[in-house]
């Protein structure tokens, strides 16, 4: 699976597009330092944190995309920062667990 696939997946909307990347795993967490220390590179990071700091974490931890769950708010400055730094953001109304399962199934990880 690559990040391009999100555009075709039901329940997911690409909010900030970017260069295609492989999605190798799924990681769910909302505490930023927890995600920073533990999210694997190339993971789809499912979270409700839509602020500029979450974008910084995604960029530096080198995750494949932020998957903003439960229709959580995406701050405007976060959207701008993500576009600048090439961080892909995908939105969904699903909670993190269901979003993670959907991505993992699509990616053949389950």
């Amino acid at each position: 699976m690559t990040t391009d696939d999100f555009a075709q997946m039901p329940d997911f909307t690409v909010a900030v597009p970017g260069e295609s990347r492989p999605v190798a795993s799924v990681y769910c967490a909302d505490l930023l330092s927890w995600a920073m220390g533990r999210a694997p590179a190339d993971a789809a990071w499912c979270t409700v944190m839509g602020n500029v700091n979450a974008v910084a974490v995604a960029h530096l931890a080198d995750v494949a995309a932020i998957v903003l769950c439960e229709d959580a708010v995406l701050d405007e400055d976060a959207r701008e920062k993500a576009a600048q730094q090439g961080v892909i953001i995908v939105r969904t109304g699903l909670p993190a667990f269901a979003a993670g399962v959907a991505i993992a199934q699509h990616a053949g990880l389950l």
């Binding site: 330092s33 920073m36 220390g37 500029v52 700091n53």
Partner: protein
């Protein structure tokens, strides 16, 4: 790869700008062709340090030396200092205020993450004087 020196000033209490030094360093190291796993370790360790400077110390300074086989980072501040370093190093221990926690920080993982991602980690602190952290990440 040439030896490169960089200096960053981290403002205090500005969480929208925290991460700029780490992002800049990451971009430079990638441009230099450093392996991505080493770049990732540097970026994570330095970002946690930047956040600590912004949250706890009222800002500070970062010196970075890039060598062909390692990256050395020294973070210094003149903040309140850490009374009990062993406690501060414990995963889950946090003194971050509520406003910072509401941004998603304050998990008590900053210093442990820095230690985990650095190949060498040293911290010294004096209450009322400030804190100095040294980190080295080896480039495989």
């Amino acid at each position: 790869m040439p030896n490169i020196h960089m200096h960053y000033v981290v403002p205090g209490d500005d969480f929208t700008r925290a991460g700029e030094a780490s992002a800049d360093l990451k971009a430079r190291l990638k441009k230099l062709g450093m392996p991505s796993d080493a770049v990732r370790k540097v970026a994570i360790a330095l970002y946690e340090g930047e956040i600590n400077l912004a949250i706890h110390a009222g800002g500070g300074e970062i010196e970075v030396q890039v060598f062909p086989d390692k990256v050395e980072m020294t973070l210094t501040d003149t903040g309140p200092g850490i009374p009990d370093i062993d406690l501060a190093m414990r995963a889950g221990w946090s003194t971050a205020p509520d406003e910072v926690r509401s941004l998603g920080f304050g998990a008590g993982m900053g210093l442990p993450n820095m230690k985990n991602y650095a190949d060498d980690f040293e911290i010294e602190s004096e209450v009322g004087v400030g804190t100095r952290v040294f980190m080295r990440v080896n480039v495989a």
